[in-house]
Symmetry: C2
Subunit: 434 residues, 2 copies
């Protein structure tokens, strides 16, 4: 089939009529599918069920150093968990704090602490007239929700397959003292799946921020979440690179095992410089009696070491790789050559990013919903939910079964075609019709 933009009025009319019928048939199926959130599927969760056996009533619940994991104390996490998560994050265990079950909560707390108490002696953000933030787009809605909640002005930064546009990042960060942070998902980014190039990471580490309390919020959520054995993205480690560049305190790095073991019951962590750690500890010791050490121990005993985790991730990949390929194949088969959409083909992470013909994303998501398939809200990948082109849609293929996914992906392409055909028709021929 030829590109919609090159069709005659009659051809496009026929295509729309045909798509209308196809869409109506889908509506009759009474589907109830969800491709909206990056949730592991049941089979993935089952991979970690043996984690429920590694601690039992006969177990020794003491750490290697003799601390009783059941009792109070050990504020920053047990050493063996720091070693495991250090290997996962590619950081020294001494640079790590192990938290509770949600890295999002750690990020929220980090913004909140800067807001109430300031970073390393700088003015608390609540005392400033204006705080701004850089948001590479498309990005992660829950990041944007945090900065929005604190009334922080978010500035879009375009991204490409090599990462955020560093010319823009450098220019803004070095000139505006009100810019205090940037959200980064550097590897298998949410939603594009792109990973930052070596040059991008190097330029991040060499930023010259106008604000002393500017921090890079480096959410390495998908650090070990590869889809393939033979094709994997590698990232320059940002803490080390910042240290080499003379900017040791510029990064807070986040990660968790949410998409490795159980999303609700994993362990989250931050890696950062000794100065930042000291700053954080003045609050942490007031904030909590410590995090769940038994669960930390459970994770350590389950994985053994980083190799155990890598082997475990391979099993995840075996489950979800076919799902990514199913969506990609369907997109290619149904939309290839039509000139109404482009999409990413990530080597890891949880999402495929789809860009439709401009002005159609909301309508596509709406059409999907009305046929029983829930997609991430259009606009969600942009601050304030506002996609200026109304074009980007995040596809989350992991949760549905293969059978469901095939239906959902096919329906999605029907909605894309239907919506874009109508849009193009309206742009090209509506005046004639009037």
């Amino acid at each position: 089939m030829k590109p919609y933009a090159e069709m005659t009025k009659e051809e496009l009319s026929e295509e729309i009529a045909s798509l209308k019928k196809e869409y109506a048939q889908f509506q009759k199926l009474g589907l109830s599918l969800d491709m909206s959130r990056g949730k592991p599927c049941k089979e993935q969760l089952d991979l970690s069920m043996e984690m429920m056996d590694v601690l039992n009533s006969s177990s020794d619940l003491y750490c290697e150093n003799g601390d009783d994991c059941r009792n109070y104390g050990v504020l920053t996490g047990i050493q063996e968990a720091k070693v495991l998560i250090g290997d996962m994050m590619e950081n020294n265990p001494d640079n790590i704090i192990i938290y509770g079950n949600s890295s999002l909560n750690v990020m929220y707390d980090t913004v909140a602490r800067a807001y109430t108490h300031g970073i390393m002696g700088n003015t608390p953000w609540c005392k400033l007239d204006k705080v701004k933030w850089l948001c590479p787009v498309p990005g992660y809605d829950r990041h944007f929700a945090i900065t929005q909640f604190f009334g922080i002005e978010m500035i879009n930064v375009p991204t490409s397959p090599s990462g955020p546009d560093m010319d823009i990042v450098e220019a803004l960060v070095s000139s505006d003292e009100a810019i205090k942070g940037i959200w980064c998902v550097p590897k298998y980014s949410n939603p594009t799946g792109w990973s930052y190039s070596d040059e991008t990471v190097r330029r991040f580490a060499r930023l010259k921020p106008a604000a002393k309390d500017f921090r890079i919020f480096w959410d390495n959520a998908y650090g070990v979440h590869h889809l393939y054995d033979d094709k994997q993205d590698y990232l320059i480690e940002i803490l080390a690179e910042c240290k080499r560049a003379g900017n040791p305190d510029m990064v807070y790095k986040f990660a968790s095992t949410s998409k490795i073991t159980f999303p609700g019951s994993g362990i989250a962590a931050m890696a950062t410089s000794p100065n930042n750690l000291e700053d954080i500890l003045t609050q942490l010791k007031v904030q909590t009696i410590g995090h769940d050490k038994v669960n930390q121990l459970r994770h350590v005993r389950f994985f053994g070491d980083i190799h155990g985790m890598v082997e475990h991730m391979r099993k995840h990949a075996d489950i979800i790789r076919p799902k990514f390929e199913c969506v990609e194949d369907t997109l290619e088969k149904e939309l290839g050559g039509l000139g109404i959409g482009s999409w990413t083909k990530p080597l890891g992470g949880y999402f495929i990013s789809f860009d439709s013909y401009p002005g159609c994303a909301k309508d596509i998501v709406d059409k999907c919903k009305k046929a029983g398939v829930k997609m991430t809200k259009a606009g969600a990948t942009y601050p304030y939910g506002k996609d200026p082109k109304d074009s980007n849609i995040r596809i989350a293929p992991t949760y549905p079964s293969m059978e469901e996914l095939q239906k959902a992906a096919k329906l999605f392409t029907v909605c894309v075609k239907y919506s874009c055909a109508e849009k193009i028709y309206s742009e090209r021929f509506k005046k004639e019709d009037q």
Copy 2:
């Protein structure tokens, strides 16, 4: 022996000389004991080891409503955990949010949220010139640390066995709009072990705060932590009483299973009014992906219901009751009639509160430390660590073994006698000596 204050100079000199020797002998023992924190002992932790068996790799990890506890979602906690904790807190499950492992963290967050965003539409506290707080004394050092961390001015309120002095509380709360909260441990209070009388609770519920965003921080940490079967304190339930009094939104109530199962790996909760819950949820949904539902399920499966928890608490009591009695007996035997100290005899909770002859607490704690027994820092039971009488010492008898405790308690009484005798001697006879 007669009261120190009635001794002659010679009698007191002899007593001091004798105590000096006794103290020196203790120093030679090379003790290393800890009565400083309210930590369960190993035998208490062992009571919950079977909780490690209730979930295993063959378990069904779904809630009663079909939600998978392993995955994301269920922001406010699983229903069956709300029912269990509701029974524990004496509140409707619908009024409850289940959090992570630390109720202290929930209290911190609650203050932090009021500071950054305000309570139910009121001005965020960070935008106010002054925020004040009432602190019944002696009280819990980690409460005071939170309000101090946020620069909130803390005002001491004296307490008696029936609770805080409500004349003072009412007068201050109704006249000063800057007063936004009060820390309360209403049952088996930290450190006195006293429980609020019915009249005290009723007067709390009928407060007429000048500030619309005044909240009672009701930390019912020891709600089910009785030492005796036949002698137990009962408390009027504060949420219900506030509702009856027309003040439904005035209370945040906190609790946890930290001293029921594992201090590091329990579950914490808040109970409050629907209006407050709605207010909290606007933040909670931004702050976290939810708390550890697997651990919630583990607690529910372990206890079954509130009766199971009550039976479990009886076992705790059997372990720690003799420890409380050991300390109380030693205090009575060694200090009775000397007029240099008084102490509480709680029916539950984790502490005995000791008041020495004024001006001696720091010295007593210091003397204990130098003989190898760590006590809670003198002054810790007052805001800013400042006990105006330098008199109160919190004794935490649960953690040491009985054998250790006997030694530690004995040493403590030697230090009390030694320090108070010196102090009284200095006050009465020092001028003569000069």
